[in-house]
Every structure is written in structure tokens, then in C-alpha cells.
Amino acid sequence: MIETKPQELAFEELDSVIIRFSGDSGDGMQLTGTQFTNTSAVLGNDISTFPDFPAEIRAPAGTLAGVSGFQVNLANSDVFTPGDAPNVLVAMNPAALAANLADLEPGGILILNTDAFQAKNLKKAHFEGNPLEDGTLSKYNVISVPISTLNKAALADLTELSNKEVERTKNFFALGLTYFMYDRPLDTTLQWISHKFKNPVIAEANTRALKAGWNYGDTTEAFQHRYRIRPAQLPPGTYRKVTGNEALSLGLVTAARLAGKPLFLIGAAFGGAMAATASSGPGLELKMEAINLALVLELPMVIIDVQRGGPSTGLPTKTEQSDLLMAYFGRNGESPIPILAPCTPSDCFTMALEAFRLAVRSMTPVFVLSDGYLGNSSEPWKIPEASSLPRIVVKHPTEREGFQPYRREEETLARPWAIPGTPGLEHRIGGLGKAPLTGNVSYKPEDHLKMVTDRAEKVARLADAIEDQPVFGPSSGDLLVVGWGSTFGAIRTAVQQAQAAGLSVASTHIRYLNPFPHNLEGVLRSYKKILVPEMNMGQLAFLLRGRFGLDIISYPKVLGRPFTIGEIRTRIHEILAQGRKP
């Protein structure tokens, strides 16, 4: 082997690279992308990922409906998004090529599994001819690799394995090949294989596939270059990769732990537990009657909506931010609920804790709006010390003297959280209209008015307990870009780029959507124009117009995909060009 090895390839230094792995749902592309990400994170690169997969677990093999993709952006400096156009596309079959080719940058690297480019698969992907031969790919740097054949040869003596089992490891061949190209060590994935596969033959097969991919890169002359991306200069600390869903879960467990409570829901909250539930839009719609009960019972709990494309079952695995108005208004009666929205995967951890803090402080359910993009994408998370996290103070009264189930605290207007089992504090709560103090059933006009206004005021007063709205960029100017939730990365980067181009633009990202921070109106009024990009038809824009009577430029997007940096940057340039005299 040594003798036949070609000359050592030169390394080219890159600041960042965006790679998209794409194949059939059954090809293990999510796993491949995740492994590449983990290895890069451990190597110290800043990372941001975007998994994009169909709702069907296994759509018919080889079809466009079954294409599953995973994009990762890795860099030697801060990255806030998975990147707009991939620099590298790994396509395991013609459908994956057809679905993703338009996104690949001109001149980008295209790694193709040529074994899959058979007439049958080409037809399923709606190709008229064979793109490998008809010039379709002439503007890309195509690396054709018969991955299935090579992988099969590498595993030939593992006779215990069926053809299907052998074929299933080909994603690790592709992974090994990309590890070679981008100079990544194999150990993180090798460790994962040894933990994951109890069957030693399967473990050996995956190990061999991975190494065969690497060795193929090393021994062939398919590449002109290898690439290196140096570690990013992140603040000192111990890091792990975290997705938004993982961070939310960790946050919930942490909040329960910090308050010394188990996790359950309404009945549990009545019993004194830290209650939480999570779903996506349709699930939340189903639970809304119970959420309104929790609101009127004034019991603390956290309700998480990982938003997706709707209405109804909609796009189960595609992202959208179209439940904001449902969270605000989607209940009968006057029923305000605090709403928080984390803006990055690791912020999900912070906001889960915040949600519990506010819920307990004011005895109210609190919404946390995540979305499919935030939930599934990942970034490095600087791990906190558990002992350094703020405690969540929970009080259950025991004093009989003066106890009333709806006697409100002066500052917060919270009612006491008296729990069953406490002698002398027996009381009844329910969904009917009630009298102040006692909570007894009452339909009196003045009692109803008092309860409605107290509940609204209680939520409004949470603005005293949250941070001021921060601004990125100049504190006044021509344009303010306002976002919420998972659009943070695209907006921040686009604004950064527009600022670098000399434009008078700032951005602000609203993490507390109800109540808004006290200073938000002042911030909004400091700019000539306001642009609100959001993955819905203009829901935050609607709220800001209604609340502050401001002229808002809405930038809606409902394609089931996040904004790209380029889209927002272009819009910023357009708006500021309109304002300029010719």
C-alpha cells in the first residue's frame, strides 16, 4: 500500500465550509451528518447544523419524497446559521442530487455515489438522461465514487453479513471520505461505533466502511486538495454540542431539580409539582382547553410548542413560526399567557429555566415557542456548573391565619400555591367565574371584571422581572431588523454584513414576546424603518402594529425552511436603497 500511495496532498486552509449530506431516508444521512458535526465540534470548530428530513420514516426508496438531508456549517470563527448555499454536496442517489443541486454553489464540490445512478433510480428522480454523462454537472467539481461497490469489496470477507447489511454501512464510507477531505480524526466516530453496536460483526463492518472511505481518499487521486479548518476562538470552558430540543429537555430537568420537584401536569401542578408539557402546533391546539383551565386556576407550568408548518397536521418535519398568534390569542375569554421564545439551540436551556422562574413567580402557565429548525439544529454549548445556576424559589403556604386561595401578593399579584395535604388550607378551585380572595363561584359583574383585570395585570407585571430589550448595532438609525425565535442567526449575520457594507442598520431579537420588555417601544421608535422577517405571514408584525401603532415592513416566509442570510441581506439593501434619493 505504502508503495502505491500518491504524493501527499497539500492542505488548503479554509475559514469555514458548509457541507450537505443527502440521500434516501434509509441511507443514514442524519447519522452521518451528526457524526461529522460531533467530530468537528470536538475538534473545536464552531458549528451550526440543519437537519431536513421527510415526515415519512421510509418513503419509497430512490424517490424525491424520500430524500433526507443534513447540512453543517463549520468554521474557525462564530457562525450563527447552518449557512445559505452548501460548498459541498454529498449525494447518495439521483433523487438526492435532484433535490439539492440547485442549492450547491457554482464550482462547489459534488461527491456522488455513482453506483446509484442506474436507469431505475434516474427515472424515479425524474432525470431524462444521466446527469453524470450529459453535462448537467459541468459547472461543479464532481467527484464520482462507486461507493456501494468499493464498500462491498472492503467488507467482502465478513460473510456473516447479508447484502442488505453491507449496503447499510455505505454512509460510513461516505463519512470516512469526507473525514479525509477535511482532515478530521476518526476516533469520535470509532468510539461511537463501539458503544452503539453490540453485535461485533456489525461494529466491525461500520468501522471498516469508515476506514475504507478514508483510505479511498488517501490512495486515489480524486482530490487536488485536502482542507483544514482551524478551531474557533470560543470563550474558555467545557463544551458539548446541543440541539434546541436537547437543551429544552435539559432545561426542564434542571428547573425541576433546582426547585426540588418532579415534573408532571395540571393535576400535578395542583399537587405542587413543576409541570411541563411539550408538543407541536396541532398538539397544543388539542391541549388549549386544558391550558386555559390552568390559566384560570392560576397554576404554574411550562408549555412548549416546537412549531412546524400548519395548519392542521401540515408539515410535520418542516419548520415554521406560525403559532405565535395562537399562543397569544388562541383561547376563549380574556386569557393572557406569558410567551418566551429562545433564539438559538443553547438558548433553549436558558429559556426553559426562565419559563419556570416566571411561571412560579406569577402562578401562571408560560409558553415557550421553539420551532422545528431550532429544535433539530445544533451548536456548541458552554456547559454551566449546576451549582452556579440560579435556584427557583417555590413557596407553599402552611399558615391558616388569613389564608385565601385567591389572595394576591402585592408585588406580583400571584395567588398562594397551597397544595393538597396541607392541614387547614382545604379549598376548591375550578374553571367557573370566581370571586376575588375566596375563589368561590361567582358570576357577579364586578367580580368577573376584577378577576379578568387582575390576571391581565399579573402577566403585564412580569415585564418588571425580565431584562431590557438589547440591540445589536447603533442605538438609532435608518433601519431596525426585528426578529424572534430561530431567525436569530440569519438576521444577526445579514445585519453584520450590511453594517460592514456601511449601512445604517441594527437588529434586535425579542425573546420575551408577552409581556414585551418595557423599553421595546423606545427601541422600535429609534429607527426610521422597521423590518420584521419571520417564518409566517406576518404575525409579530401584526402584534407590533397593533400594540405600538407603528409602520412595520413585514417579510414573511412560509416555505418550511429557515431564512438564508442572503435573503435578509438583500431585503435590507432593497429597503435602504428605496429610501435614498437617486
Binding site: 460531533n38 465540534a41 470536538v42 475538534l43 473545536g44 469520535t188 478551531p231 474557533a232 476562538q233 470560543l234 470563550p235 474558555p236 470552558g237 467545557t238 463544551y239 458539548r240 454540542k241 446541543v242 435539559l250 430537568v253 434542571t254 431539580r257 418532579p262 408532571f264 401536569l265 395540571i266 393535576g267 400535578a268 401542578a269 395542583f270 399537587g271 405542587g272 409539582a273 409541570a275 382547553e289 386544558a290 383551565l293 386556576l297 456547559i383 454551566p384 456548573e385 449546576a386 397544595i419 393538597p420 395535604g421 396541607t422 392541614p423 387547614g424 388550607l425 382545604e426 379549598h427 376548591r428 378551585i429 375550578g430 374553571g431 367557573l432 368561590n440 363561584v441
Partner: protein
């Protein structure tokens, strides 16, 4: 103060200061009174008792009990009770529901609490009508019943609550009648003493919208012919002077007159503790007018409760894995460290 030194509570201790707002003559009054009379027998302090209800006339019940209580939303009382019981398994939790609340929207929630065998007591007031909304037919209204929402008579088969409960693996299933006060009190006591989900159907008269729905079982003359009191270990006898009985003919129960060669030893003997629910199910299928209607305890079987199973799992997990450690949890992934001087180390 320990529980042993507590003075014995009385019915009065369980009466809340709220004005009871059911219609005069409603069967609910009797059920409320029997509950308030029975609870002192349990020796459980008031603060450990919680009543949870859904929506409907019966669901106003918690407001009238001087215990903890929650009047929740349509059909969801079993769900709330489940959460509460998990948060604090020490509590004695009662669910009060009706044929509308428990078997329409609540049907789904009801079967799941039953199959889980939470240690909760469920009392379903069955008056075969929606009373609070003024007289529409319910999931238990008899076939052909003319109501405001079925002017030509209902065309849907009613549910039999006890059959549903048994099909959902209920471990305690019983029935009583609002006016059978002593019997009702005994059944409620048995339900409270059972560990696991207790399901009690109470035939309750809505004197406004469905008066006399149970007259065949409450009228002194008619009930002699139609009411069968189940007793564990005893043959199924009923009728004036217990002159009739139930005999099995293959898998079909048949009504027989005692005497003329038929003796009690030929009759079906009630065994509430059979692990197999088929016999209990057969009893629930005995309906008026073809059969006498059984009341009493149909099934009582002690098996593992959900909260005990959960507590057991948690205990075992703690033993095997130790107390959870947040720092360890945070670090349960591939880690890397960035040092002060040169970025990644």
C-alpha cells in the same frame, strides 16, 4: 399531632360553606350526603382528601366538600387525578363524573386511568341524560329515548358503564343507587378501601329532565322483581322472598324460580375476586327488563397499582444508578475544552 390522636371527624366536618345549587329533589343530594357520612369512617384527615370533577351537574360536587377540590374541564378529571396522584401518592383522590362527562369526551381518559390502575376512586353518576345543558340525550340514554336533541328517539346504542370499565381492565367495579342510602354508603366505603382504580356507577335520578329513569329499581313494588343484590360467595337470588335466582345455561344466564327441583345449589355463586373478568362482565350484561339488575360489588381484585409500579421503578433506578447528578447529565456527550490562552486545547 399524629393521625392517631385526631378526633374522629363527623359528616359536618365534610360540608363546605357553599350553598348547594342542585335542583330540589335531585339524586345528587343523596350521593353527597352518603359521601360526607362515609368519609369519616376512613380515618383519613381532610387535607389528604381531594375531589376532582369534570363538567356537568355531578361535577359541581367538589365545591360542596370541605376537602381539597378541583372542578376541571369536560371529561378530563381522570387525567387531572392521575397527575395529582403521581405528584403526591399519599393523597386520597376521588373523581366525580357523570354519564355525559365520563363517557362522551371523557371516555378516552376514563379507559386509560382504569387500565393503569391508579389508586383513585371514580364515582359516575348515571342519570341517562345531560341535565346541566337541559335535557339532551347522553351516551347512556336508552335506545329510542326522545329528548331535546333526539325528537324522534335516539338511534345510537347506549354504553354500559360497567361493561366499559371491565373491558378497560378495571380492578374494582361496583354499582349502587342514589336512594339505596345504606347500600351506597357501603359501596363507597368498599371503593375507598380498594387499592387501585375503583369504579362505582350510581343510578341517579334527574327529576327534571329524566324523572323515573330508574323507577323499576326504586319503586318499592317494582324493585322487588327487578333488583338483585350481589353478595360475595352467595348464590344470585332475587324477587319477593328471594324466590328467584340466576342459573347459568352454558354461557347464558337464565332466570329460574326456586323450588320444583331447583335449589340454591343450582344457582350461579357470586365471586367478586375472580382474576378473570368474564363472570363479572356477564353480570354487567344483565339489564332490565330481560333480567333483574345487579347492584353491589361486581369485581374486586388487588393487583399492582400504577403509582406503586412507578415508585418501584424509580427506587430501582436510584439503587442501580444512584441519585441523578445535573453536572454529569450536562456532560453526557462528547466534550471539548477551550482554554484561556490558545483557543482549543
Amino acid at each position: 399531632m399524629t393521625e392517631a390522636t385526631l378526633p374522629k371527624l363527623t359528616k359536618k366536618d365534610f360540608e363546605s360553606n357553599q350553598e348547594v345549587r342542585w335542583c330540589p329533589g335531585c339524586g345528587d343530594y343523596s350521593i353527597l350526603a352518603q359521601m360526607q357520612k362515609t368519609l369519616p369512617e376512613l380515618g383519613i384527615p381532610r387535607e389528604k382528601i381531594v375531589f376532582i370533577s369534570g363538567i356537568g351537574c355531578s361535577s359541581r360536587f367538589p365545591y360542596y366538600m370541605e376537602t381539597y377540590g378541583m372542578h376541571s374541564i369536560h371529561g378530563r378529571a381522570p387525567t387531572v387525578a392521575t397527575g395529582l396522584k403521581l405528584a403526591n401518592p399519599e393523597l386520597s383522590v376521588w373523581v366525580i363524573t357523570g354519564d355525559g362527562d365520563g363517557l362522551s369526551i371523557g371516555g378516552n381518559h376514563l379507559i386509560h386511568i382504569l387500565r393503569r390502575n391508579m389508586d383513585v376512586n371514580i364515582v359516575l353518576f348515571n342519570n341517562q341524560i345531560y341535565g346541566l345543558t337541559k335535557g339532551q340525550y347522553s351516551p347512556t340514554s336508552r335506545l329510542g329515548h326522545k329528548t331535546k336533541s333526539s325528537p324522534l328517539g335516539t338511534i345510537d346504542q347506549p354504553l354500559n358503564p360497567l361493561s366499559v370499565a371491565l373491558a378497560a381492565e378495571a380492578t374494582f367495579v361496583a354499582r349502587s343507587i342514589d336512594v339505596e342510602t345504606r347500600h351506597l354508603s357501603e359501596v363507597l366505603l368498599r371503593a375507598a378501601q380498594h387499592r387501585g382504580t375503583s369504579f362505582v356507577e350510581v343510578f341517579q335520578n334527574c327529576n327534571i329532565f329524566n324523572d323515573g329513569a330508574w323507577r323499576h329499581l326504586t319503586d318499592p313494588e317494582q324493585k322487588k322483581q327487578n333488583l338483585l343484590r350481589l353478595e360475595h360467595g352467595k348464590p344470585l337470588v332475587f324477587g319477593p322472598d328471594n324466590s328467584k335466582g340466576i342459573r347459568l345455561n352454558g354461557l347464558t344466564p337464565e332466570v329460574v324460580e326456586l323450588g320444583n327441583g331447583v335449589s340454591e345449589s343450582d344457582l350461579l355463586v357470586h365471586d367478586e375476586s375472580r382474576p378473570d373478568a368474564s363472570a363479572a362482565y356477564l353480570l354487567t350484561r344483565m339489564t332490565y327488563p330481560a333480567y333483574p339488575v345487579p347492584i353491589g360489588v361486581f369485581r374486586c381484585l388487588e393487583t399492582l397499582t400504577y403509582e406503586d409500579a412507578l415508585t418501584g421503578q424509580l427506587k430501582q433506578a436510584l439503587q442501580e444508578r444512584g441519585v441523578g447528578d445535573l453536572d454529569k447529565l450536562f456532560r453526557s456527550a462528547d466534550l471539548w475544552t477551550v482554554s484561556e490562552s490558545n483557543g482549543k486545547s
